[in-house]
């Protein structure tokens, strides 16, 4: 019964903080905790566009992350609130499911709620995995770059440094230890047109930018490109990186 207890505590908390009541899972009074999540306006302050629900925000960040060559700012507050929501919805489903008096109509409602939970979980997993993929790929770059570190969570930073460490040890034990010391570095400065040894995000790579409002992109060469609202442009990620972070442009 611990889930019910915690649920009730939350129920009371939400009642205090939020007097407005929206329709919800109305069944035998188990309804209220779900409603306030619909009413939380801005999870990431100043960031969301008007009328975007938390799930829509997460979907946008998920697609942005999939398309952007660089690692985008972590959305841990938003992600946390959606994970909480999934957990609460799952708890409610469990409670209702365990009740033998549940009607057929209620069964359909439970099934719909369960279907949605799975959909949302898919988005969450794919979003997190996309970030992990980039963090693995650019681990060495991340641990040496403070700017990127501001964009990732503490857990992701730990993961990056552990990953970089494991790779270094692997390279060392399999090859580097047999080379002369001067040849055994993993971050030598590149010469001629050699690419740098530490793999960096290719921020000039092109993306499909969908302008959510009229805005102006600036290419790395300093050229400006007008992006009318609703327009779709294929251009360098570097030209829209700031606009993506500000939510003025989404990657599609």
């Amino acid at each position: 019964m611990s889930s019910v207890a915690s649920w009730e505590a939350e129920y009371l908390r939400s009642k205090e903080s939020n007097a407005t009541s929206a329709p919800s899972f109305s069944h035998r009074g188990l309804s209220a905790p779900l409603e306030d999540d619909l009413l939380i306006p801005d999870v990431q302050l100043g960031e969301p566009l008007p009328e975007e629900t938390p799930l829509e925000q997460l979907t946008r960040h998920w697609m942005n992350e999939r398309h952007a060559p660089d690692i985008l700012p972590a959305q841990d507050v938003l992600l946390g609130s959606i994970l909480d929501h999934i957990r609460r919805q799952s708890d409610t489903i469990q409670l209702l499911r365990g009740d033998p008096s549940t009607s057929e109509e209620e069964h359909i409602r439970i099934m719909l709620a369960q279907t949605e939970v799975e959909r949302v979980q898919f988005v969450v997993r794919s979003y997190v995995r996309t970030r992990l993929y980039k963090i693995e790929k650019y681990a060495r770059y991340i641990i040496a770059n403070e700017d990127v570190q501001t964009r990732i969570t503490t857990a992701e930073r730990d993961f990056a440094s552990r990953h970089a460490n494991i790779m270094d040890r692997h390279f060392y034990s399999s090859v580097l230890q047999s080379l002369p010391e001067s040849q055994a570095g993993l971050d030598d400065t590149p010469h001629f047109i050699m690419p740098p040894m530490v793999t960096e995000p290719e921020t000039t790579r092109a993306v499909f930018a969908h302008a959510l409002k009229r805005t102006i992109a600036r290419t790395p060469e300093g050229k400006t490109i007008d992006l009318p609202k609703g327009s779709l442009t294929l251009l360098s990620y570097a030209a829209v990186a700031d606009l993506v972070a500000a939510g003025e442009v989404e990657l599609v």
Partner: protein, 180 residues
Amino acid sequence: MSLPHTLRASVTPPELELIACQQLVDIVPLIAMEKTAFISGAYGPLRPPHKARIPLWMAVTLKQKKKCHILAPEWLTVEYLQLKLTQETTQAEFTKLPFRFAELSRVMLDVASDDLQNPDKLRSLLQDLREARQAKARAGLENLEHSALGLSNLSAMEINEIRPFFIEAMAILGRLQPGA
């Protein structure tokens, strides 16, 4: 591996379908349901035979249990698509269609063809549109520069199909610039 290889450069059609299925459609419910809070929002009440607006994924689930009819959006009709096909083949730019029309129409034709008028004709019109637009997108490659290319009115699924080679081709053009 944190992300399978096929997902690194692009998004899969089923993923786009998942996103599209969040869009709202009109249905005629065959069961009643109180207004209910879901993670994505509150939907209902469902009261047969009154129309209701719910996400497509929910409509699909109900439809498969024979608990609703899905009402075709105004753009998923023979007349409308015929008009769009004419525009598509007579003008240079892409005609405007809903951003996720490919996903939405496919899902609706898949699970609710009995709710749509003349589904076979709809399918063939959509196929013709797809081919006309694909040829246009390909022609757009001739204008590809290393800096920017406007592709307004291209839909989500079309972008996804051309994405890998448009991006790669642009990257190559960038590398072929002196001093790049």
